[in-house]
Symmetry: C2
Subunit: 346 residues, 2 copies
DNA sequence: TCCGAGCTCTTGAACGATCCAAGCGGAGTG
DNA sequence: CACTCCGCTTGGATCGTTCAAGAGCTCGGA
């Protein structure tokens, strides 16, 4: 078949369905069925075809399959620009988990980039050109134009992150209960005997930041402790954390800090180092994200760990439902983080 | 055209080349040329077609294009499993850079996973199914079966990392001169007045580790200083770095450490903290990779920074050459890192 | 014996783009 | 004026797969 077409060509072109069909003495469709619906074949035929496939080393051509089935088995993931100086390796840990999980579901992850309007273009292009079947959206911060755009466009996507700005949003999402995480961290400190536990979080316009803060205040009030004057809201940088902790130490005299991120917690460690205070012994510190920094810093930073592997599994599951059922009504799933305890909390 | 086929269908199916052609009153080929070879069209025709494209919101279907042209404009990148507890965010920084750079070249990055033999299967599958045009290989450590396999298979790929085990390898690669980096770090310390500079590196079977070590020893010998007893070779973990530095401090009495990685450098910081020594003031420490950890740790870790953006650019350029010229003979490119100086070296 | 059901396999067409070679018109030339 | 040539345009074929429909066979029941 292939040989008759190109008689002089020596180099082996990739075998096609037709080649396998001829080799096995069956039709193309039968080979296709052997690959995609083995149940339809008589056992002996199936074996024959499979042998031919193995012998020729046949692998279906994705482009052709994608064209016919209108599916690429790719999910698009936009990589947000790196934020240097930030301790958030969360994104990357998630990417790893997502890649691993989607492989088992027969999907691959396609990365793309773009900021602002260019990001929308990226989504648009990949979607229109049928390059991907769906998207995974990771940063659903307030008024994120991406999520809004995707929603309006009825583009299939699953979000890692709640639709904070729109509780009626009907798309599937998976998120981690940040409040529960900070609550665990705070309780852990209270159980250790601390009564003055300070909070360093993000600016008020961050839904995620306020959510995490609520876990801290809930834990304190639960024990009848006041939160007044014990909180600070700053940018998510090391120096902000350093300055905020210095001020809090002077004014509120806390014996422990709970932070909205490991980055901020590192800022606290800076302040302690500058004042000759020892983390864990003199002042307790807890962070959020369990980043690499938390793991390798001295003396080891207690941190809230997001179950990113579970998140990835849930995201992929939603993705499968979404693609199997076009009318799929999204639902949300909230996972609970865990606390990784290290010496920084004594 | 499209309407005549599906008269009752209201929902707008994606417009095809034929739809645009009809709308603009030209043939399919003319539309195709308008997209791919605008020069071939008479200016007024071009405008007319482009207007029709814009009006219908036409975007070429990738699957169809891929099928015809036998190219996917995707490059595969295998994500190696995360190593928790390691400070190497290098991989992730590189991924970001690669995604950004390849976008400008019209390529997207396809992630996949798999360890050991499964990794080979991943390559095999993506290659045979024409899912990707080429690969980017990142870990070309000693006897890496992937690189060998790809080479034998004549699969198009560009490596980030030298072919250590085979100097005759004729594939394109880009790497960073680790020895130059450690040499810079060591010189920086010597210039600061240190005369006893210790080395903590990886085990001897690591080419990369030995390369980095050579930069350190070269810098010392250049100044007539002896390296005897000043080096330790261990696993790339924080605790190994801690133990090695403790031993070296006792036996060799160095005033500075140069490490093969930030992970090991963090181990040194642990030892210093345990002994009440202050990094930068009492003992100088330099790491390698300029990871997030180096940036956020107290007091800031001097570290060798790989020019990953440049690496990505070079990799993509090689990729383009490779794909444009099937017989492309690979060449290697060695880039020089820079030194990010922070308080840990005084 | 005949018919229909059920199973297995085959056939022709379609997916949407690009490549190919021929067609067509207009400008340039003898 | 006829002819050639150049450049844009055209229809048809093609990439490799899956879909939809149908053909051949066996088997059981009337």
């Amino acid at each position: 078949m292939r040989g008759s077409r190109t008689t002089t060509r020596i180099s082996v072109a990739a075998p096609t369905l037709a080649d396998v069909a001829e080799s096995a003495g069956v039709s193309r469709q039968t080979v296709s069925n052997a690959v995609n619906n083995p149940d339809l074949l008589r056992p002996d035929t199936l074996v024959r075809v499979q042998e031919a496939i193995a012998e020729l080393g046949y692998v279906p051509n994705r482009a052709a399959r994608n064209l016919r089935t209108r599916a690429s088995h790719l999910v698009g993931l936009r990589l947000s620009p790196v934020l240097e100086g930030n301790a958030t390796a969360v994104g990357d840990r998630f990417v790893h988990s997502l890649v691993w999980t989607s492989r088992e579901a027969g999907y691959h992850v396609l990365l793309f980039s773009g900021e602002g309007p260019a990001a929308i273009d990226g989504y648009e292009d990949l979607l229109r050109s049928t390059a991907v079947d769906a998207f995974v959206v990771t940063d659903t911060y307030l008024g994120n134009p991406q999520a809004t755009w995707l929603r309006e466009r009825r583009a299939p996507f699953v979000a890692f992150g709640r639709p904070w700005d729109d509780p009626d949003a009907r798309h599937p999402w998976v998120d981690v209960d940040g409040a529960a995480g900070t609550e665990m961290a705070t309780r852990h400190l209270l159980d250790k005997g601390h009564t003055r536990v300070a909070w360093i979080g993000w600016r008020k316009d961050s839904f995620i930041g306020e959510d995490r803060r609520s876990g801290w205040s809930r834990a304190l009030r639960e024990r009848g402790l006041s939160t007044t004057g014990m909180a600070s809201r700053v940018e998510d940088t090391v120096s902000s954390g350093r300055e905020a902790s210095a001020v809090l130490l002077d004014e509120a005299r806390p014996s422990a800090f709970v932070c909205a991120s490991d980055t901020l917690a590192m800022g606290v460690l800076h302040t302690l180092a500058e004042r000759g205070l020892q983390p864990g012994r003199d002042i307790a510190v807890a962070g959020f994200d369990d980043s690499q920094v938390a793991q390798v810093v001295h003396p080891g930073l207690t941190s809230v760990r997001q179950p990113l592997e579970e998140v990835a599994v849930a995201v992929v599951r939603s993705l499968e439902d979404l693609l199997a059922t076009p009318s799929y009504v999204g639902e949300g799933l909230l996972l609970t983080p865990s606390l990784t305890v290290r010496p920084s909390t004594g």
